[in-house]
Symmetry: C2
Subunit: 359 residues, 2 copies
């Protein structure tokens, strides 16, 4: 099997660089990838040397090949996403993005400023031809893990963009998550087709006409109950939904903790249910599924959670490798090229064969 | 203390009429209100007679005075809210709304079609002068119960409406829920003032200028963690947030049930934690706080949850009485009259005293 080389922005994120590098290394060992780490070489080397001890007994051929590329600065959360890439050309994010463009690696992971990653990817790597807007696809771990797209990149969208998000999300669900004929749902304030604002009403009509497995409008109440595999919405709604799910999950773990820590009897009950509690915790752990994928960009870029720890990054390494090797981007390229033909067929009725050959 | 008479649409809701009448009666006994039940008199009498047995030993002066008013039809969930009130004038909802207008009762509760209730209230009862849009204020029970406004009535709004929602929500939190100087938060996709769409950006600026205790933008992740007492948003976002909170709460209770039902050991653990489990359940039970209040309407109208059971309705009776007697509507009337002055002062600089006297 081909080994993917994952480019990692080692300097961005709440717990960078230590947790990022530690997680990248453990992920690379576990999931068989190589690495290209971008950041301060001295710091990276120090952390790698300390981490390497863990793998002294591992067979040589399971260990990753690691390249370090120097960067001078870091994009912060306060930096203005729209200008930072042009201004901070020596930042770990800018250099990592450039390296991905040049083919020095197969995918890019950054736990930094979402807007800056999104802008860098769009400006440097470009969108897949035909894609009007790239979108952030988060994998939400509830009863069934589902793709939430757009989970925060585009606050203002048009119905056609939601249709494209649905196509991109479906490809990801099928090719990377292995879900056959994924169920596409449109997040709305009611199930009837006339519900929502003009945006949802028009998107509903467009989605009805696609060859996707569109299951209609989904009320947010049903999202945690396996209602669909790909939940489509604008980035504002997606951000509210994603963070609310996270907030409710931590609310519930606080409550469960309180419940079991009430007194010595309940503490004993905690011991009796430890295995089940751990399972529940794991099933709701968003770290398992890695980060949010920038779908629609011509190369694999993944935005890891800002608060990512080493475990989260190691899982994101797996996700990046699956994404890079899963053929999603090639498939999307084909799909959107076909879509374009469809549109041209509409315009030049009867001449479709000629147009097809010309393209 | 004045006894409030609560008008109840006895025929609307998933569990109508039985659960509605049962809950109305028990709420009226417990919280000391009178009732005006609108619906089919024979059915209402039958249910009341059967329920009355529960209260045979209660002192007479604690028992409610009950009036029944006949209606011929019921507004269904499929009825078009915009025309149903004019078409189904003999429906329990239409008659109940008219009775409230005429002063036959102090507040109205219906568990029916939200859109129809909203339209009926707006057309028949009218808005408080100066209020541009009435809004649905739901009371969300998490770490602290907070007001979510608008939780679903207006999908398309302007920034000035969000400002008004904030004022109305603050009045409700203060006068009915007893929260001093309630913290107002604007639901947004980030805490910085430039976040969100134009709607949130402009609403942020307006809210900054008010005398409200505006704590800024609130990310949905913080909503379950006591971030504010009044969470302001458009009705689309509010609907998504409210239903997602409900969905996550039932997801979690399913998961906790599964956890404890795994085997005989975990079942034993459930017995040990029964008291704490019951408390947790109660703290998350939206039924405790009644229904969603239609703030901005000139009379107290409460939309009970469509799936309301008797307990939920009994708690809504309490809420309706508190709302009717809490002076919220008078205070809102004053507030919005003052607001109008403020605007006029802005227009006729220096002449404010004259304008004030004229009004």
């Amino acid at each position: 099997m081909t080994k993917a080389r994952i480019i990692v922005d080692a300097m961005s994120g709440d717990n960078a660089p230590k947790a990022i590098i530690e997680g990248a290394l453990s992920g690379a060992v576990e999931y068989g990838t190589d690495l290209l780490l971008v950041g301060n070489p001295e710091i990276i080397k120090l952390i790698l040397e300390s981490e390497a001890k863990k793998y002294q007994s591992s067979p040589m051929d399971t260990l990753p090949d690691i390249i370090i590329k120097e960067s001078q600065s870091v994009v912060t959360m306060e930096d203005d996403p729209s200008i930072v890439i042009k201004k901070k050309t020596d930042s770990s994010l800018a250099i990592a993005t450039k390296l991905l463009k040049e083919g020095a690696g197969d995918a890019l992971i950054s736990a930094g400023n979402t807007g800056a990653i999104f802008t860098a990817a769009t400006l440097v790597l470009r969108r897949i031809k035909g894609v009007r807007r790239a979108a952030l696809a988060a994998i939400v771990p509830l009863d069934n893990p589902f793709v939430l797209i757009d989970s925060g990149a585009n606050t203002d969208v048009q119905p056609e963009m939601l249709e494209q998000f649905a196509h991109m999300g479906a490809f990801y669900a099928e090719r990377v998550m292995g879900i056959k004929s994924p169920r596409i749902g449109l997040i709305n304030n009611g199930v009837e087709s006339h519900k929502g604002t003009e945006l949802q009403q028009d998107a509903y009509k467009l989605l009805k006409k696609t060859d996707l497995n569109f299951v209609g409008n989904i009320e947010s109440r049903e999202l945690p109950a396996n209602a669909c595999d790909v939940a489509v919405c604008d980035g504002f709604t997606g951000n509210i939904a994603l963070k609310l799910i996270e907030g409710m999950a931590s609310f519930m773990s606080r409550k469960i903790k309180q419940l079991f820590y009430s007194n010595s009897v309940t503490k004993f009950a905690a011991v009796l249910t430890q295995k089940q509690l751990d399972e529940l915790k794991r099933s709701m752990d968003h770290r398992e599924h890695g980060g949010a994928v920038l779908l629609g960009i011509s190369k694999p870029v993944i935005k890891a959670h800002g608060s990512s720890d080493a475990y989260s990054i190691s899982r994101t390494i797996k996700q990046a490798a699956d994404y890079a090797l899963g053929g999603v981007i090639d498939a999307l390229n084909d799909e959107f090229t076909k879509k374009k033909f469809t549109r041209i067929r509409g315009l030049f009725d009867g001449k479709e064969e000629i147009r097809k050959d010309e393209a």
